[in-house]
C-alpha cells in the first residue's frame, strides 16, 4: 500500500537496508566502548587486589621458634598472672644455646625472640595452670627482624648480626624455625611490636560501631522515608525537610565527627573513643543516604498497588505495611548497605571522637575504648617498622573481606525479599 505512494524503485525495505549498516556500526562501536570501559576498570581493580594480596598475604604467616620451655615454679610464682615469663623464655634460649656466655652475645640471642613470647607464655599458663612444673616444647613468636629475614632473606640479612644468622641457621637445621599461621594477627589487638600486632581489636571495634550504626540508622531511616513519602502531605515543610536531607547526605563526613564530639561527648558526657559514640556519629552520616534510597524505593512501587489496596478498604497504614513496604524493601536494603559500606570505610569522623588512639585491649563493650579497621590501617601505614607494611595490606584484606561478607549478606537478604511477582 505504501509503495504506491512512492516511486516504485525505492521500497521501504531498500531505505531501511541502506541505513542498517550504519545502525549496526553505531551499535558495535558502543559495545566496544562498553567492553573497553569494563576491562579498564576490571584491570585497575585486579591491579589493586594483586598489589594488596601480594603485600598482605605474607602477614598471615609468622616466624616462630620452637623452644624447650621449663615452666619453673620459682619464676611463675604463686600468682601466675604476675610471673616472670620473660626470664622463662630467656632461660629456654640459654638452654638451646648453652655456649653463649658473654653479656653482649646473650643480649643478641634474646633479641631473636619477640617481646610477645613472654605474653604468649603467660597466656598459656593462665589458660592451663597444670603446665607449671612441666617441661615442654613451645612455638614462640620470633622478633620482626627474624620474621623479615625469613620472608625476604636478601634484604633481611642486613639487619641481623652474623652471630644471630648462625643461631638461626642452627635452629632451622633442627627444624625449630618455621613460618607458621599467624594466630596472633587474628587474636590480638594492636601492639608496638609488629609481630604481635593483631587485627581483632579493630575488627571488634568496627563490628560494634556498625551494629550501633545499623540499629539506629536503619529503623530511623526507613521510618523517616515512610513518613515523608507516604504520610506527610506535599507542603512547604515537607519540601524544607527534603532539601535538608539532601544537603545532609552531601555534608563532608568530618563535620559529623565534630558534631559527635560537641554533642555526644562534651554535652552528653559519653566516653571518648567508644564504638557507641562512633556509631552515633556514623548513623548521622548514614541516615540521609538510607532515607533518600528508601524514598526512591517507595516511589518506584507502582501506584496501582496502592490503589488496589485502598480500593478494597485497606487503611493507609495497612496499605503501606502490607503492600508497599514489602515491595520497596529490597531497594531500601540496597540503600542501607551502601550507607553501611560507607560507614565501614569511614575514618574522618572517628578521628574527631578519639577512635584513633593506640588501643591494645580488644573492646568488650560498646563503651570500651576501641578503634576501627580503616583507622587501624591508617595507624599501621603510618608506622615506621617495615613489618607494618605487610600488616597494613593484611588489614586491608580483612576490611575488604568484611565488606564483601556484608554485601553478600545484603544480597542474600534482598533475594529473600525480592519476589519478582
Amino acid at each position: 500500500m505504501n509503495q504506491n505512494s512512492r516511486p516504485q524503485t525505492v521500497s521501504t525495505a531498500a531505505i531501511v537496508a541502506a541505513g542498517l549498516r550504519k545502525r549496526y556500526r553505531a551499535e558495535k562501536r558502543f559495545r566496544r566502548l562498553g567492553i573497553g570501559a569494563v576491562i579498564l576498570s576490571l584491570g585497575f581493580l585486579l591491579l589493586l587486589f594483586g598489589n594488596i594480596l601480594s603485600q598482605g598475604l605474607p602477614a598471615f604467616r609468622q616466624t616462630e621458634i620452637a623452644l624447650e620451655i621449663e615452666f619453673t615454679p620459682r619464676l611463675i610464682t604463686a600468682d601466675p598472672a604476675r610471673g616472670n615469663y620473660r626470664a622463662l623464655a630467656r632461660q629456654a634460649l640459654q638452654r638451646a644455646f648453652p655456649k653463649v656466655r658473654k653479656r653482649r652475645a646473650k643480649k643478641e640471642l634474646y633479641r631473636l625472640l619477640s617481646n610477645g613470647a613472654a605474653f604468649e607464655l603467660r597466656r598459656m599458663v593462665l589458660a592451663d595452670p597444670a603446665l607449671v612444673g612441666t617441661d615442654r616444647r613451645c612455638w614462640l613468636p620470633a622478633d620482626d627482624l627474624v620474621d623479615n629475614f625469613l620472608k625476604n632473606p636478601e634484604s633481611g640479612k642486613k639487619r641481623l648480626s652474623p652471630r644471630q644468622l648462625a643461631w638461626l641457621s642452627q635452629l632451622h637445621n633442627q627444624g625449630r624455625l618455621a613460618l607458621r599461621f599467624n594466630r596472633f594477627f587474628f587474636t590480638r589487638g594492636d601492639s608496638r611490636d609488629p609481630e604481635m600486632a593483631g587485627i581483632l581489636g579493630a575488627l571488634c571495634g568496627s563490628i560494634f560501631t556498625l551494629l550501633v550504626t545499623l540499629a539506629l540508622s536503619f529503623p530511623l531511616g526507613i521510618a523517616s522515608a515512610l513518613y515523608l513519602e507516604e504520610f506527610a502531605g506535599r507542603n512547604a515543610f515537607a519540601d524544607f525537610l527534603e532539601v535538608n536531607i539532601n544537603n545532609l547526605a552531601a555534608v563532608p563526613s568530618i563535620i559529623f565527627g565534630l558534631l559527635g564530639l560537641a554533642v555526644f561527648i562534651n554535652l552528653f558526657g559519653l566516653p571518648r573513643s567508644a564504638p557507641l559514640v562512633g556509631g552515633l556519629a556514623l548513623s548521622l552520616m548514614t541516615m540521609p543516604t538510607i532515607i533518600i534510597a528508601g524514598r526512591a524505593a517507595l516511589k518506584a512501587v507502582p501506584p496501582s498497588i496502592r490503589e488496589a489496596a485502598l480500593g478494597i478498604g485497606a487503611s493507609k497504614v495497612q496499605t503501606v505495611f502490607h503492600h508497599v513496604l514489602p515491595l520497596a524493601l529490597p531497594g531500601m536494603l540496597t540503600g542501607t548497605i551502601i550507607g553501611m559500606a560507607r560507614a565501614l570505610g569511614e575514618t574522618a569522623p572517628l578521628l574527631m571522637i578519639g577512635m584513633v588512639a593506640f588501643i591494645v585491649d580488644i573492646p568488650r563493650s560498646l563503651s570500651a575504648p576501641a578503634t576501627v579497621l580503616p583507622v587501624q590501617i591508617y595507624l599501621w601505614a603510618d608506622s615506621p617498622e617495615r613489618a607494618f607494611v605487610a600488616k597494613t595490606s593484611a588489614a586491608i584484606i580483612v576490611l575488604l573481606a568484611f565488606l564483601i561478607l556484608m554485601n553478600a549478606g545484603a544480597v542474600v537478604l534482598r533475594k529473600k525479599f525480592e519476589r519478582k511477582w
Binding site: R234, P302, P303, S304, I305, R306, E307, A308, A309, L310, G311, I312, G313, A314, S315, Q318, H322, H323, L327, R419, W421
Partner: protein, 288 residues
C-alpha cells in the same frame, strides 16, 4: 440485538427534542432523567479538577439500588474520574480536587468525618487496568475479608476465596494453583481475579471500570452473568466501551462527553431514542 436498536432508530423522533449545539455556551442541563425518586447514590453539582484543568463539569445524577448503570462516552471524557469520586479514590491523587455533593444512602461521603476505610468497604472498585497484588492468588482474594475481619478461620477464608473465584469465573482455572502469584496470570485472568477480590468483601456498591476490556467473549459472558446476579443485591456502576455490553447488562445508561454528563436514561431509551445529538452520534458510531 444491538444492531437492531440502531436500525430501528426512529430518526425523526429524536431530531425534534435534540438541543442544538452551540446555542448555550454554558452547556444545557443533562438530557433524559438524571434524577430519580428513590436513589441509593446521588451526586449533585460535582466538579473535578486536575490542577487547573477541569475534568468534570457540574455532574448531577442518581443511581438506584439493585440496578446496573453503565457509563459510556469517548475516551478521556471523565468516566473513570467520575467513578473514582464515588469511593473517594481521587483523594490519592495530589492534584485532584473534588467539589459538590455525593450522598450514599442520604449521607454525604465527602464530609471529613466519613471514614474512608468504611466507605471503600461499602463501595468496592474494579480498576481499568488489572492490578492484582504481587502475592498468591489466595492471598489476593483473602486480603479484603481478612483486614475487615469478615472471616477469622482458615476454612471460612477458604470458603470466601472459593465462592468469590467461582463467581468471577476463575475458580476452575486456578483451583490447583492458589498459591502461585496472582501477577503470573494472563491479563484477562488478572482482571477476573481483581473482580473476585472486590466481591470477596461483599460491598454494597460495585464500581467497575471497563472490567471486560481484556476478556475473551466467554469470560465476558461469565462476567456479564455475574453482574446480572450481583444486581439482585448490589448497586452496580460499570464503565464500558461496548454498546452491546451496555445494552445487555445495564438498566440505565449515562453518556459522558468532554467532562459533561450529556444524557441519562433507561438503557432502552438512550439506545433507541437518544435525546441529544451527541448521544446519537456516539452510539451510532459516527464519532468517538
Amino acid at each position: 440485538m444491538f444492531l437492531s436498536f440502531i436500525s430501528r432508530q426512529p430518526v425523526k423522533n429524536t431530531t425534534a427534542k435534540k438541543p442544538s449545539p452551540g446555542t448555550d455556551p454554558a452547556r444545557p442541563a443533562t438530557a433524559g432523567e438524571p434524577l430519580l425518586e428513590k436513589s441509593r447514590l446521588s451526586c449533585r453539582h460535582l466538579d473535578v479538577f486536575y490542577g487547573a484543568k477541569q475534568a468534570l463539569h457540574d455532574i448531577s445524577i442518581d443511581f438506584s439500588g439493585n440496578q446496573v448503570t453503565s457509563l459510556i462516552g469517548p475516551s478521556g471524557c471523565g468516566k473513570s474520574t467520575f467513578l473514582r469520586c464515588l469511593n473517594r479514590m481521587n483523594e490519592t491523587i495530589d492534584i485532584c480536587r473534588v467539589s459538590g455533593e455525593i450522598k450514599l444512602d442520604g449521607e454525604d461521603i465527602n464530609r471529613p468525618e466519613v471514614d474512608v476505610v468504611l466507605l471503600r468497604a461499602r463501595v468496592g472498585m474494579v480498576f481499568q487496568k488489572p492490578n492484582p497484588f504481587p502475592k498468591s492468588i489466595r492471598e489476593n482474594v483473602a486480603y479484603g475479608p481478612r483486614i475487615h475481619g469478615l472471616a477469622r478461620h482458615r476454612d471460612e477464608i477458604d470458603m470466601i476465596v472459593e465462592t468469590s473465584l467461582t463467581r468471577a469465573g476463575l475458580w476452575d482455572e486456578v483451583k490447583d494453583r492458589l498459591d502461585e502469584p496472582g501477577t503470573g496470570l494472563s491479563g484477562g485472568q488478572q482482571q477476573r481475579l481483581c473482580i473476585a477480590r472486590t466481591i470477596a468483601v461483599s460491598p454494597e456498591v460495585i464500581l467497575m471500570d471497563e472490567p471486560c476490556s481484556a476478556l475473551d467473549p466467554i469470560a465476558t459472558a461469565r462476567i456479564e452473568d455475574l453482574i446480572g446476579e450481583l444486581k439482585e443485591n448490589f448497586t452496580i456502576i460499570i464503565v464500558t466501551h461496548s454498546m452491546q455490553q451496555a445494552s445487555r447488562v445495564s438498566q440505565r445508561t449515562a453518556f459522558f462527553h468532554l467532562g459533561h454528563l450529556v444524557e441519562v436514561g433507561s438503557t432502552e431509551a438512550v439506545f433507541t431514542t437518544p435525546r441529544h445529538h451527541l448521544t446519537e452520534e456516539y452510539i451510532t458510531g459516527r464519532f468517538g
